[in-house]
Amino acid sequence: MKMKRTATGRSILSIYFLILCLHFFIFLIKKAEIYPSLIFPAFSAAPKLQDLVKFSITDLYGVDQNKHLVRLSKESFFQDFYDKHVDNILNTITVNEARSRTNPNIRNGRGAFIDFSKKQLNRLFPHTRFVALLIQKEKVQYHLSSQVLDRTGIVESRTLIKLY
């Protein structure tokens, strides 16, 4: 009896393991995220570090009437959102701004986003009138030996969102 039970258990375990492997295999082939998923984040990139560590930083700016840029706290601006995902939200906005011209679904939701942005800017800077938002992705490099972060000024992408 016990032997039969163990054999059944092993079969269930093997089938389950195969399903898990298949799930991981699909992820590796498609290189696309799945939810719900049992695949953990990898932080897989492992560049050779020769004193410089290169990566990008995304910043959010308000543009006032005189075209001056004011750097905004991303977390404060998106205070009603899950703060760990703020950089991803900025990426989504960048993609959607480009697609809103052709995709009516995105265009319809844009009005609510503009209203939201005006409201947030009013809350953060009640005495300044901002006419646009700017999302800027900039390349930066960190010097390991001198421990200095170098803002290179090299802009990877720039998205201007006119509010008026």
């Binding site: 039970r5 163990t6 258990g9 092993r10 269930i12 375990l13 389950y16 393991f17 898990l20 991981f24 992820f27 498609k30 696309a32 995220e33 799945i34 939810y35 719900p36 998923s37 049992l38 695949i39 953990f40 984040p41 990898a42 932080f43 897989s44 990139a45 492992a46 560049p47 050779k48 570090l49 560590v53 990566f55 930083i57 009603d80 959102f81 899950y82 760990k84 995902h85 950089d87 991803n88 939200i89 990426n91 989504t92 906005i93 993609v95 959607n96 679904n105 995105i106 319809n108 939701g109 844009r110 609510a112 986003f113 939201f116 930066v140 960190y142 390991l144 030996s145 421990q147 972060l149």
Partner: protein, 383 residues
């Protein structure tokens, strides 16, 4: 292999209470009431998810109902009411809500604590400490889940944990973490520090640590720990060693990278040494002493009722909040601490390491006094 994962249903039921206690104390439950149609411009679900079937976020009413259902199923599960069903429904409603929560271009990988009830309800975590026992005139002994089914369900869950860890390790190997010239952990430390402002604890100190050997040890040990987890599932004893190591691993991830990956800590608690805990606090004795048992269940029922009402009120009164606050977070808020949620999560990590240390000491003392191999520290296989 499978039989080594057997945990007595009375211990599994005690774990159900511990699970609930950890959630209500340190984490809180997720609230989905902050989501709604107004956020459709930001809608970017993962390529393979249920949310892909939608063109935007459903209305606020949908998320309000989902939050309430999730809350109801959670408390029914903890109280052991229709436990098998409510455990599954809690997991399903949580996953459904998070499908939309993670539709802003990124998913978090905090799934294990959400799916744990599905496995453990089959294993028999609803056999004891249930509220319906209070309302029976004569207390009947619960019908225990068959040992074969219990050990298989726990074994499948252990495999799930190990597999998840191994997926991270395999991707790291692919990415070049074992390459001697690269310093992967250091690269991610720098990136997290400056891109995401993760500057707390020891992040600043390690940022300036220019020791190639140290960073390579970090890289190699991480990969060995993550991939080795899967191999360790062949026997509970080896698996326990890896769970102990993983508690320390997640603690160091918090200290260096400021990432509180709390989900795993909740499920690792399933593998504590229940026999040792039973000797300390007498779980078995509690079950056989009818009056004490009933008083205990009544206290849990009353506590859950009060907390349910508080969270229900909170979900609607503060509809822009992501989390129904746990007890520590609530206390910290009252005391005026900023970042009370983060502090509450951190306390779970420090608590877990304290338990690990205490268990290690208990193991050493136990072996010294008994002169026998008491098994691995903290987490123990069946003797």
């Amino acid at each position: 292999m499978i039989d080594s994962y057997f945990i007595r249903p009375v211990y599994l039921s005690a774990y159900r209470l511990l699970y609930g206690l950890i959630v209500v104390t340190f984490i809180g439950l997720p609230a989905f009431t902050w989501l709604g149609q107004g956020l459709t411009y930001f809608f970017a679900p993962p390529p393979y998810s249920l949310a892909r079937l939608f063109s935007g976020f459903p209305g606020t009413g949908f998320f309000q109902v989902l939050t309430v259902l999730n809350l109801v199923f959670f408390f029914l599960m903890i109280l052991g009411v229709w436990c098998r069903w409510t455990s599954v429904l809690f997991s399903v409603t949580s996953m459904l809500g998070h499908t939309f929560w993670y539709s802003f271009g990124k998913i978090d990988h905090l799934l294990l604590w959400i799916i744990a009830p599905i496995f453990l309800s089959v294993a028999g975590w609803g056999d004891y400490f249930t509220l319906p026992e209070l309302f029976r005139k004569r207390r009947n002994e619960p019908v225990e889940t068959a040992p074969g089914r219990a050990s298989l369900a726990v074994c499948l869950f252990a495999l799930t944990i190990a597999f998840s860890m191994a997926t991270a390790g395999i991707q790291k190997v692919q990415g070049g973490w074992l390459n001697w010239q690269s310093e992967a952990a250091r690269f991610w430390l720098v990136r997290n520090y400056f891109s995401h402002d993760r500057t707390e604890f020891f992040a600043g100190y390690f940022l300036s640590l220019d020791q190639h050997l140290f960073w390579k040890i970090m890289d190699f040990s991480t990969v060995i720990m993550e991939v080795g987890f899967l191999i360790s599932t062949v026997h509970r004893r080896y698996f326990n060693y890896f769970v102990s190591a993983a508690v320390l691993f997640h603690f160091f991830v918090l200290l260096l990278f400021n990432i509180p990956f709390y989900s795993n800590l909740i499920v690792y608690a399933l593998f504590i040494d229940w026999n040792a805990l039973n000797r300390q606090i007498g779980i078995d004795k509690l079950v056989v002493k009818t009056h004490l048992y009933r008083t205990f269940l009544s206290a849990i029922g009353a506590f859950c009722g009060i907390l349910f009402l508080y969270w229900l009120y909170f979900a609607f009164a503060h509809s822009n909040q992501f989390q129904l606050p746990g007890l520590i977070e609530t206390g910290l808020r009252i005391l005026g601490f900023p970042n009370s949620y983060d502090l509450s999560l951190y306390s779970l990590f420090f608590g877990s390491v304290a338990v690990l240390g205490w268990s290690g000491l208990a193991f050493l003392t136990d072996r010294k006094t008994k002169g026998e191999d008491a098994g691995p520290p903290y987490i123990q296989s069946i003797r």
